[in-house]
Symmetry: C2
Subunit: 144 residues, 2 copies
């Protein structure tokens, strides 16, 4: 997923466009994120980025994830009882199903639920700024 089709030059541009310096470390981190098929946490990003550039420190991973998150380039998800996990923000909006047994994450989207959320907020005199919808699930035994 996520910027996976973009080339490295484009990624650098994405950073620059956000008014950020393109450092070796950031390039490595962004590369890791764009190539990730899963939702890695900070330590995992650090581990993977270290393979590309072993000067990347964990602190920089956190700082970079924070800045990318601010810029809306990546999304941070703090699922129940686990360190935050990250994904690039290029995919259309979606929420998550978390497999409670494996920790695997599946994405889904429901325009209908989104609509109901806005409606409920409105009924209470609010407007939705953001939301969090996570389904903690287990694979169905009876597949039928």
């Amino acid at each position: 997923m996520a910027y996976a089709n973009k080339l490295k030059d484009d990624l650098d541009d994405a950073l620059r466009e956000a008014g950020l310096r393109v450092t070796r470390q950031r390039a490595a981190i962004v590369k890791v994120l764009t190539e990730a098929e899963d939702h890695p946490d900070a330590h995992e990003v650090h581990r993977r980025a270290s393979e590309i550039d072993n000067t990347v420190s964990l602190a920089t991973v956190y700082r970079t994830l924070a800045v990318l998150s601010d810029k809306g380039i990546v999304h941070r998800h703090a699922f129940e009882g686990a360190p935050a996990r990250f994904e690039t923000a290029d995919a259309p909006h979606h929420d998550h199903i978390i497999d409670v047994d494996t920790g695997a994450v599946v994405e889904f989207a429901s325009a209908e639920i989104e609509r109901l959320q806005r409606e409920i907020a409105r009924q209470h005199g609010f407007e939705v700024v953001s939301h969090r919808l996570e389904l903690y699930c287990r694979r169905r035994k009876d597949k039928r």
Copy 2:
């Protein structure tokens, strides 16, 4: 909310029924929770419980909240970027609207959203174990 109508004796029973000893500290903590109209975090529960019994330590608050949570007597909610907040579990199931400006929490329920969640999970081969739905909102200016 929450057990607010029960008397202290009933609360003690609730603890005993769960196979737990009724200690002064637990009684104080449970009292705080049953009388809370809001969703206090552990430190706030500790502060309030200390007024009833100043021997209550923060560790015991955490331990008691954990055990009550295990027993399903209270619910723990870890909202975005804030320490976990607690509420008694006597009210019917509901999700939360969090006012991003004030931190205030409003409860709501939507059978329709619940239904859609189960449907989505099923479509992906899962069944919902639990879910988290939080609407981070702002009061509407244009009350129109």
